[in-house]
């Protein structure tokens, strides 16, 4: 029992390191800076200005927070999805099926790096907000903020896990990824306040990750304490778990199908 646990922990870290290396192998510092620091900033600027044009006021914090947290979604969706979906393209999927290692450990290990990466993205986003748009964090309690960011990146990683498994059977992973990402933009309340969305859209917003994370962060920046946001965070966490579980379930189903049909051609 103890031995299995240790094995799983080892697998977890190996998955994490592998993800880390894969993440950085392709990146030169310049590219990393461009995509991690500059690109998200340009998106933030875009929406902040639209917001300013729309409302005529200068309070950018609504959009800054929304977009900063969207960066978490970016790591979750693109990072995690590709690291799983990427298995298909590098042809290593069969090996994953065949290994006796606990799949949870592998996947969670992979997701771990992207969660850290996602958190970094949020901090960078908030940093830009302070630097360029006068984001005021004076009322913010740091601990609730950190917890919120952690849980939000975790739950988007859960979505990423699910998307990754979907990506294993779709022909066009990037199409799915980008659509989901933009859907998140639309439904999560990042740039549009939830109250102003039509009712049917609000329903969807309630079932996806990120929504509560964004709401919580806005509350925290306005001065709320941990007690007010705890219920939201709990729900956010549960949603993340739910998506991850569906992802595992999907993966096992694919695996069973593949073994039954004796083929990985569906992939």
């Amino acid at each position: 029992m103890k031995k299995r646990f240790i094995t799983n922990v080892k697998i977890f870290f190996e998955g994490a390191i592998l993800s880390y290396r894969a993440l950085f192998r392709w990146l030169r510092p310049a590219t990393y800076i461009a995509s991690k620091i500059l690109a998200p900033l340009t998106m933030m600027i875009f929406f902040v200005f639209i917001g300013a044009y729309a409302s005529g006021n200068n309070d950018a914090s609504f959009y800054v927070i929304g977009n900063a947290l969207i960066f978490a979604a970016s790591s979750g969706i693109f990072g995690v999805t590709m690291s799983i979906g990427g298995e298909r393209w590098s042809g290593t999927l069969p090996y994953l099926f065949g290994s006796p290692a606990n799949r949870m450990a592998i996947f969670v290990g992979r997701a771990f790096m992207h969660i850290l990466d996602g958190m970094l993205g949020v901090f960078i986003g908030l940093g830009w907000g302070i630097l360029l748009f006068g984001l005021d964090l004076s009322q913010t309690h740091l601990t609730p903020l950190l917890i919120t960011i952690l849980i939000t990146t975790f739950s988007t990683a859960g979505l990423g896990l699910l998307m990754g498994c979907v990506g294993l059977i779709t022909r066009n992973v990037m199409l799915v990824n980008n659509t989901v990402y933009f859907m998140m933009l639309l439904f999560s309340g990042a740039n549009i306040s939830l109250e102003s969305l039509p009712k049917w859209m609000q329903v969807i917003s309630n079932y996806i990750p990120l929504t509560r994370g964004i709401t919580s962060t806005r509350l925290i920046v306005a001065g709320a304490g941990i007690n007010e946001i705890l219920p939201l965070l709990l729900e956010e966490f549960l949603i993340g778990i739910m998506f991850a579980l569906v992802g595992f379930f999907l993966f096992s189903t694919f695996e069973k199908q593949a073994k039954k049909l004796g083929t990985l051609e569906i992939f």
Binding site: F24, L27, R28, P29
Partner: protein, 325 residues
């Protein structure tokens, strides 16, 4: 008309590769290290060498796709760097293989596209394309997408494309690679026909018998340098004094190989896989009389058939590139 269709003088090409992520180190790899040779107009010239010797890099420089690091090359008197645009309409090239074709398009559309890019007059193209399709044996399949073609069909489509604009000089990089024996033989016949049509052809290959059969002259290239340049006959004479003892073996540990190599009159050894069999090749001037010594050295190993034969171009090649196969 130029006497030399292709003139190469001290051509060099280096590549930079980087290692590492944070602290990047650059390494310089010399792919072509000062080669010189000339090809006469209408000649079928072979560039022979193992993988990684620099054949493809040389062809890419001659076809204006790479700029040499130093040295010069001219095609029909035109410099490959300065006059690249004048050269391109007059040469054809194939690198073959899976890449270089539009998979989602049909063979016919691939040809139509490149005919346009090579400024082939549309009336001429209307006639030429079906002719070429027939010539390379793709008739009836030209409307199918290239992604459904076999390896051999793709290779043949490459050839058709290279001939669309009736070039004077052709560069064929491993044209029979991946073809089945029948397809390869047909390809070689096509190449001979092209030569009869007075085209200058530079062919690269690592199939020795192919170079022997087709080429009027062969340059052997290894590690970026030309190690021999002559007609096939004369190249064979460099090994004329040698016989080759072929011993069928069933696995040979390296120390035994060394022992044979260290025998006094042994020029070189190589191990070859032929069909399912493993053959030890020993180059020695002593001929059959060396057999007993060799067998003694291989004491303990299981041996099969033993034969002595005349050297082929392949043996000359092995010797020239240092006995590594």
């Amino acid at each position: 008309m130029f006497m030399n269709a292709v003139e190469i003088s001290n051509l060099k090409r280096q590549f930079k590769t980087t290692i590492g992520v944070i602290k990047r180190q650059t390494k310089e790899v010399i792919a072509v290290d000062g080669i010189s040779f000339n090809i006469q107009a209408g000649e079928l010239f072979g560039l022979l060498g193992p993988n990684g010797a620099g054949k493809t890099t040389t062809i890419k420089m001659l076809t204006t796709l790479l700029i040499p690091s130093s040295g010069t090359a001219t095609i029909m008197g035109l410099d490959v760097v300065k006059d690249a645009e004048k050269i391109r309409p007059r040469i054809g090239f194939i690198f073959g293989g899976e890449r270089g074709l539009y998979w989602r398009l049909s063979g016919l559309d691939n040809l139509r596209y490149f005919a346009t890019l090579y400024y082939v007059d549309s009336n001429v193209a209307k006639k030429k394309i079906p002719e070429l399709i027939e010539l390379v044996g793709l008739k009836g399949r030209e409307k199918e997408k290239v992604e459904g073609y076999s390896r051999g069909m793709r290779q043949r489509l490459h050839i058709a494309r290279a001939l669309l604009h009736d070039p004077e000089v052709l560069f064929l990089d491993e044209p029979t690679m991946g073809l089945d024996p029948v397809g390869a033989r047909e390809m070689r016949m096509t190449i001979r026909d092209l030569q009869s049509a007075k085209k200058t052809i530079l062919l690269t290959t690592h199939y020795m018998f192919e170079a022997d059969a087709l080429c009027e002259r062969i340059a052997v290239i290894n590690k970026g340098k030309i190690v021999a340049l002559n007609t096939p006959e004369k190249l064979k004479t460099t090994v004329r004094d040698l016989s080759v003892v072929e011993i069928e073996i069933f696995g040979i540990p390296p120390e035994f190989l060394e022992k044979v190599r260290n025998l006094e009159y042994v020029d070189g050894v190589a191990v070859e896989t032929r069909d399912q069999r493993q053959i030890l090749l020993v180059h020695t001037p002593k001929g059959p009389s060396a057999i007993s010594d060799i067998v003694e050295v291989l004491n303990g190993l299981r041996l099969g058939k033993i034969v002595t034969r005349e050297p082929t171009l392949e043996d000359a090649y092995v010797r020239l590139v240092g006995g590594q196969m």
